[in-house]
């Protein structure tokens, strides 16, 4: 191919120059939800998704996609299928109103993380955790603990042991983040050079 791009010239030859063949249908990777802790002590909040072949790769890709800049002290990921979602409400309607009250169950309990959406259009934010034997029960218990004050438009519950958390040792992944000034607008102050230029041109 004739190109100005040195990388393109190195690409393998294309047999039929004029035909762009469709991509061969492939697998789609799985979908994983990404949560970021913006500051030490601040709650984790939902930031988006990555597609990955497994939880560990999802963690690595999430680090690249969501924590290149801004402050970040921790990150975790979970398979989208592990997120239990309440109905979405609006106006004055609280999503907890649609969750039936908890019936004390005698089954074995595990921990569930609970997330709230308190402003439509914003992100889900981590609220705390509860012990329950299933996600429905987890939301019902959350209703008795976390349903205070603000209207909640949507609730998520995730079983804690399904989450790929950041370990204590991994926390240094973000230690050098503030040093990466070259990613920051503040490192490109053209002001003085521009002023000198304008002075000279006068």
């Amino acid at each position: 191919m004739n190109s100005l791009d040195p990388r393109v010239i190195r690409l393998p030859k294309i047999e039929q120059e004029d035909i762009i063949s469709p991509k061969i249908p492939l697998d789609q990777f799985g979908t994983f939800e990404v949560f970021v802790e913006p500051k030490e002590g601040k709650p984790f909040q939902h930031e988006g998704i990555v597609h990955a072949p497994n939880l560990e790769m999802a963690y690595i890709l999430a680090k690249e996609a969501f924590t290149r800049r801004f402050t970040c002290t921790s990150l975790y990921v979970v398979d989208t299928r592990e997120v239990y979602v309440s109905p979405m409400t609006e106006g004055e309607n609280n999503a907890y109103e649609l969750i039936p009250d908890a019936k004390e169950s005698l089954n074995e309990k595990t921990t569930f993380e609970i997330y709230h959406l308190i402003k439509r259009g914003k992100q889900h934010v981590h609220q705390g955790h509860v012990a329950a034997s299933n996600p429905t029960e987890a939301m019902a218990i959350a209703k008795t603990i976390y349903n205070k004050g603000k209207t909640v438009f949507n609730i998520w519950a995730i079983q804690s042991d399904k989450i790929r958390f950041t370990t204590q040792e991994e926390k240094d992944l973000w230690v050098t983040l503030p040093e990466k000034k070259f990613r920051d607008a503040s490192d490109y102050k053209g002001g003085s050079k521009l002023k000198a230029f304008l002075e000279k041109e006068k």
Binding site: P12, F29, D184
Partner: protein, 328 residues
């Protein structure tokens, strides 16, 4: 990166008549109140279709837009510029990831979108079908094409679809670095040697027509998009966006001692609007339909990347990881 205009050709509004009038009224009043629409909310089919189309094109523009600049990473002048350009190109590809995810919440899979890009079915911003001959072309993109993209993106961030707005908030925060970096590069060329000044002037001459095309055809000839404006899918007309860009950046270009290759360009003091030679919309159409200087190369690069990466994806494939639609 993202240009307007190429998104809404030939929309048919008949499907609105088939929608449940009560739900449609609720939907519209939610938008009027300034509330966001979320993936689990009811929405008209036309809203879904046009949003997928717009967000998908925006995502494609980010990855294709990374190519003309990416080609200059190895040749960028000096270590600092290489670091900056690498970070910028990485951001652009990251923007594509965020935008694909937002479009996926509406029900089109990422693989289908990539398929449609590679087969030429989906469009991307026309401006990236032009070549970057010199370092100054690359600087033009970093500063002014990104500036144009920011005008669009800031407007769209006030739109009605929650996941798209959230992606754009992240993107706009990163774009401020692109814009500053690009301006920094051009200030250096402007205050450099005569050769550097000429190099940027020549790049500006080459890029001005595609830059004027960037915001899409003039309102006089483009299709009416009232319903999309009402639903806050499209946030301003093409001419409004173009005018906003000219208002913000023409003075900055002039300030650096460069001339813009359009003798008619000037702000009308009475209307407050910019006047200019009508861009060549025939060329715009020709290029968008595939006949531009770099269309073929851009798609080939994507196709080859797809083919070369196949063994990696095959090796990583696992039956445990299942594609599902993102939540928000």
């Amino acid at each position: 990166m993202y240009g307007g205009g190429n998104t809404f050709e030939g929309i048919k509004t008949d499907s609105i008549q088939q929608e449940d009038p009560k739900r449609l009224a609720e939907f519209e009043s939610r938008i009027d109140r300034g509330e966001k629409i979320e993936p689990s909310d009811w929405m008209p089919a036309l809203y879904r279709k046009q949003l997928i189309r717009m967000i998908e094109q925006h995502a494609h523009s980010e990855i294709i837009g990374a190519l003309p600049e990416g080609t200059w990473i190895t040749r960028a002048p000096g270590f600092k510029r290489k670091m900056a350009l690498m970070a910028k190109v990485q951001d652009e590809v990251g923007h594509a990831q965020l935008l694909y995810s937002a479009a996926e919440t509406l029900g089109k899979s990422r693989e289908k979108m990539i398929d449609d890009l590679i087969s030429g079915k989906s469009k991307y911003s026309n401006v990236f079908n032009y070549p970057t001959y010199t370092w100054a072309d690359c600087c033009f993109i970093s500063w002014l094409v990104d500036a144009g993209a920011i005008v669009n993106q800031l407007a769209n961030a006030k739109g009605s679809y929650g996941p798209y707005c959230r992606a754009l908030d992240r993107i706009c925060a990163e774009e401020s670095f692109h814009l500053k970096y690009g301006h920094h590069c051009v200030i250096h060329l402007a205050s450099g040697t005569q050769i550097q000044k000429d190099m940027f002037q020549e790049a500006l001459n080459r890029w001005w027509p595609p830059m004027m095309h960037f915001f899409g055809p003039s309102d006089k000839i483009s299709i009416h998009t009232d319903v999309l404006m009402r639903w806050k899918v499209k946030m301003g007309t093409n001419d409004d966006m173009r005018n906003q860009f000219l208002d913000m950046y023409v003075p900055k270009i002039w300030e650096l001692g460069f001339t813009i290759p359009d003798p008619k360009l000037g702000k009308n003091p009475e209307t407050g609007r910019w006047e200019y030679t009508e861009p060549d919309w025939e060329e715009f159409k020709r290029v968008i339909n595939g006949d531009g200087p770099c269309n073929k190369e851009r798609l080939e690069v994507r196709r080859i990347a797809e083919e070369r990466g196949r063994w990696v994806r095959e090796a990583l494939k696992s039956p445990q990881a299942v594609y599902v639609v993102p939540l928000a």
